[in-house]
Amino acid sequence: MNTIFPVIAILFFPSGLFILASGLVYEFVDRKLVARYQNRIGPRWFQPLADLFKLLAKEEFIPKGVQPGLFVALPVAALAGALTAALYVPILGLRPAYSFSGDLIVTLYLLSMMTLCIGLAGANTMDRFSVVGATRALTQLFSYEAPFLLALLGPAIMAGSWQISTINTYAQGRLWMIVTQPIGFVVAIVGLMGKLELPPFDSPEAETEIVAGALTEYSGRGLGLFHIGRDVELVIGLTLVAAFYLGGLANPLDFLIKTLVLLLITAGLQSLFARLRIDQTVGLWWRIGAMLALAQLLVLIILRGLRL
């Protein structure tokens, strides 16, 4: 029994096929919502699946001047990081497959592996667009990482633990933390958009300036793996924010409703703003984002100190 459970957990549920499939579903919902906000029709339900199959079937070019091993291994590493992170979050509202004290930090670092891999991938190639894209991706990593972590720390402090499943259980049955820590919620949602490089923070892959940023030279399988990795991160990120701020995830229906509501808000934020330049992003995060997150933390620490 002990050897079957890890295999099922990694290959089928919650990681593996299930999270890949739900990544595709969430990508579809996101694109459809953004299209409806812009008064157009949007893709059909199987579009992300078709995109993935098409990319997997295409020939992969390894450009001149790159390290071939690194070039091929980076997308795999990025996807692996995202898939591993799925083992520690309450997917579908059920107990996470593996849980230990401190797994909040581990999950967040696993999620950041994607951005690091993108940065490395961009720096690896000789293409000018990729180099600029990689620089921007890493700059953005340095700017949103701290406020996002602090925003997720707020509920952790309230729950008194660094373990995601404990925080999840703590959040259920109490007043939703979006009400008690609204600033933290705002920073968390916007931080999630920064992590996933969604507009208005899509400067690292600005289509009109640097073609596709760090991923310009990727095609075929590598690009497909990066894309599906980003979708998996979308699901995991939404799960985390919903579990912490929207009153915990108790059962599958709860999970679906809360994450889809969050996706509605995120898609709306994607359509509302023009793209921020990289220096504006950094300025915004380090001035306003960090200040807000710190202020929120301060309030929490004082409250907790007073109660004790």
Partner: protein, 141 residues
């Protein structure tokens, strides 16, 4: 000074139908003056060839089957036509007009792009004459 000035638009759009027209399932009719495929009425043609003179792309050609009896056949190359309607403007006898219903002209073979206008017997006579010429000179394409 506002953040999200288009918020009203995007929230409204969630409850409205998309602005996309689902062609070919929904096909809006073209307005009256639309310049689609050219049509030629040989009855009134006098053979002045003013239409040919001003065509910017040599899309039409008037072939005389019988000049005295005013029997003309027009060969119209749809793929060369720019749909400018200068020929329609030039014709003094209103032989030419551009349709507003026939505008889906894409085709996968070249034969559809060369159209002959004229009386049936004139076109038959013309084609017979050209096959005769082809039979006489088999070496030429």
């Amino acid at each position: 000074m506002s953040i999200g000035a288009m918020l009203g638009d995007i929230v409204n759009s969630l409850f409205k139908k998309p602005a996309t027209e689902l062609y070919p399932f929904e096909r809006k009719p073209a307005p009256e003056k639309f310049r689609g495929k050219l049509f030629f009425d040989p009855e009134k043609c006098s053979g002045c060839q003013l239409c040919i003179k001003d065509c910017p792309s040599d899309a039409i050609e008037l072939i005389t089957v019988d000049k005295v009896n005013k029997r003309f056949v027009m060969r119209y190359n749809i793929d060369r036509c720019t749909f400018c309607a200068q020929c329609v403007q030039n014709c003094r006898f209103k032989c030419l007009n551009m349709s507003n219903e026939d505008w889906e002209l894409a085709s996968i073979n070249k034969e559809a792009f060369e159209v002959y206008y004229g009386k049936e017997e004139d076109i038959a006579a013309l084609l017979a004459r050209s096959t005769e010429e082809c039979a006489e000179a088999p070496g030429k394409g």
